[in-house]
């Protein structure tokens, strides 16, 4: 089974045997990979009931819940990593969710689609329409992505909050690319954060 590229990056950088909370874990693909290849104790939170059922049916401890409202019950420092992959832009209060991640986890992985990618910019500039791209496939009215963010937005946000960046990876068409011009050229970013 091949992991989504951003998940593969995360999987490669989680320490062996760590405790991990995957917020927005989908059907548990990353959790299963972490459990099977890195001996990780992975717990998951997922909004979609069908995804939760699939995760639980593969033997994963997945809880149905909402990143915006169900993180408060987890104690401080209860995980080595909290992971938020492709979920930040769907949260009602991404800033508060990020605070919660860094409270619950000693470190946090956050991945999101970059809204400043040139294809997105072109779509808006030339087409005058909300962009529909492979990474953002929904129309404006049915997209779950309610808080679009760019790589530069995110960096500015982190520096305002004094969050340390321990690693950053950028993806374009599913493959890694350099930092240079990432805000224009990367479709997707993965950040490793520490309080």
């Amino acid at each position: 089974m091949t992991l989504r590229p951003d998940l593969a990056i995360i999987a490669d950088h989680v320490a062996r045997g760590a405790r991990v909370l995957d917020v927005g874990c989908g059907d548990g693909a990353l959790m299963a990979a972490l459990r099977d290849t890195r001996d990780v104790d992975a717990r998951g939170l997922e909004l979609d009931a069908a995804n939760v059922a699939r995760g639980v049916a593969r033997g994963l401890p997945v809880v149905q819940g909402d990143a915006d409202s169900d993180l408060a019950g987890y104690p401080d420092d209860s995980f080595d990593y909290a992971i938020l992959s492709q979920t930040l832009q769907t949260c009602h209060a991404p800033d508060r969710v990020l605070d919660e991640l860094l409270r619950i986890g000693r470190r946090a992985f956050v991945s999101f689609p970059n809204f400043a990618h040139w294809r997105v910019r072109l779509s808006l500039l030339w087409g005058g329409r909300m962009p529909v791209t492979p990474l953002l496939p929904e129309q404006w009215y049915d997209t779950p992505n309610i808080h679009h963010v760019t790589i530069d937005d995110f960096r500015a946000f982190l520096s305002r909050r004094d969050v340390a960046v321990e690693g950053a990876w950028f993806l374009s068409r599913g493959t890694r690319r350099t930092d240079a011009g990432a805000n224009l050229l990367a479709e997707h970013a993965v950040f490793l954060l520490r309080r």
Binding site: A49, A57, Q64, G65
Partner: protein
């Protein structure tokens, strides 16, 4: 052949069983069934806990009615809990009337049924009685304890009471505490029983308070169904009647509506199979249930001593133990650092959904149990 194992077993254990209410019971009769074979290392035992008016016949035809076991959709050959692999135990709860010690049991001291002299019991007392049975069967640690509704309360109480004796708990359509509304519905039922002149302070012998118990069951039955389910099944449809125009109102108080007739039938058939005093005692035990209260007021404390994994399932139309109650338990388990799975499943059938055909529930339970080493 070991007499301890098989269908329709009954054992009298010396106990003594110390109760939350302060009393002591000895001996303790327990009616139970086992399925499958206990592994040499004892590691394949699964305890199934039944609901308020349930019984030990979880996966075998009821000896009297011939009806299939009440959870044969979940337990049986090729099912998530499979006697070919698992050693399955299901016992009639303490206080019930299907063969285990309860108010209808003859008190050896007086030679008469215990009646209201039977001590008030709790969910934890039921669990302690089950632990006595496990001792008798030679099961030291359960691979899993599984239950729905009141069975789920026992499944929650198990790891809280015996943290080292259970590796996993499956809690379906259940709650960690009875709310004011839950208690209120039960009180209606109890008052219906006790208001029946035939109840006679619990000393009714062979002439039970059928009318009162029947009304109690009717009221309770409504709480097991969803409004949408009742509407779909009955709507405002009228009864066909032998001496009347079909579908006409009687302008009287016969069961005009199909839903009335259905409820009356539910009430009457219940009286044939359940003891009125047991109904009082078991509903009391459920009302007293508040797992947080037993652990210093903080539910998470109930789960700190155990390493068990938990799986909770709720149903979106269950208004008796709605999803929020399961979520409350999940938050406490997260706070205690336990591994927990939880999903709210869709069903039109309300609380009763856990007893009906629920393929997704089966998949979830199957996957969860397979992951329990």
């Amino acid at each position: 052949m070991d007499e301890r194992f098989g269908l329709s077993r009954r054992v009298s254990l010396p106990g003594p069983l110390g109760l939350d209410g302060g009393g002591m019971l000895s001996p303790v009769e327990i009616a139970y069934e086992t399925y499958g074979t206990l592994a040499p290392d004892g590691g394949n035992a699964i305890l199934i806990c039944h609901a308020l008016t349930g019984d030990q016949h979880v996966a075998s035809p009821h000896p009297r009615t011939g009806k299939p076991g009440w959870w044969s959709r979940l337990v049986g050959e090729g099912k998530p809990i499979d006697p070919a692999r698992d050693f399955v135990i299901c016992s009639n709860v303490l206080g019930s009337c299907m063969g285990s010690l309860g108010p209808s049991t003859i008190d050896p001291v007086t030679g008469r049924p215990w009646g209201m002299a039977f001590p008030v019991i709790t969910i934890r007392d039921m669990v302690r009685a089950q632990a006595l049975l496990l001792d008798h069967l030679g099961v030291s640690v359960l691979r899993a304890v599984v239950g729905g509704s009141m069975g789920g309360m026992q499944a929650l109480s198990w790891p809280a009471t015996f943290p080292d004796r259970v590796r996993a708990a499956v809690v379906i359509a259940s709650t960690a505490r009875h709310t004011a509304q839950n208690i209120a519905f039960h009180e209606v039922g109890r008052q219906a029983v006790m208001a029946d002149p035939k109840w006679r302070g619990g000393d009714y012998r062979d002439d039970p308070p059928a009318a009162g118990l029947s009304v109690a069951r009717m009221a309770a039955h409504i709480t097991y169904l969803s409004e949408a389910g009742l509407t779909e099944k009955f709507g405002r449809k009228l009864q066909a009647r032998a001496n009347g125009i079909e579908g006409a109102k009687s302008f009287g108080f016969d069961a005009d509506f199909q839903v009335e007739s259905y409820l009356r039938h539910q009430g009457l058939s219940f009286v044939d199979r359940f003891d009125a005093n047991s109904y009082l005692y078991i509903t009391r035990a459920m009302d007293y249930f508040d797992l947080a209260e037993e652990h210093g007021g903080l539910l998470a404390n109930a789960f700190r001593a155990t390493a068990a994994r938990f799986c909770l399932v709720s149903f979106d139309t269950d208004w008796l133990y709605p999803t929020i109650e399961s979520r409350h338990v999940v938050h406490a388990l997260n706070a205690a650092g336990r591994a927990v799975s939880f999903v709210e499943l869709h069903s039109p059938y309300g609380h009763d959904a856990f007893l009906l055909d629920a393929p997704e529930m089966n998949r979830v339970v199957d996957g969860f149990l397979k992951a329990v080493a």
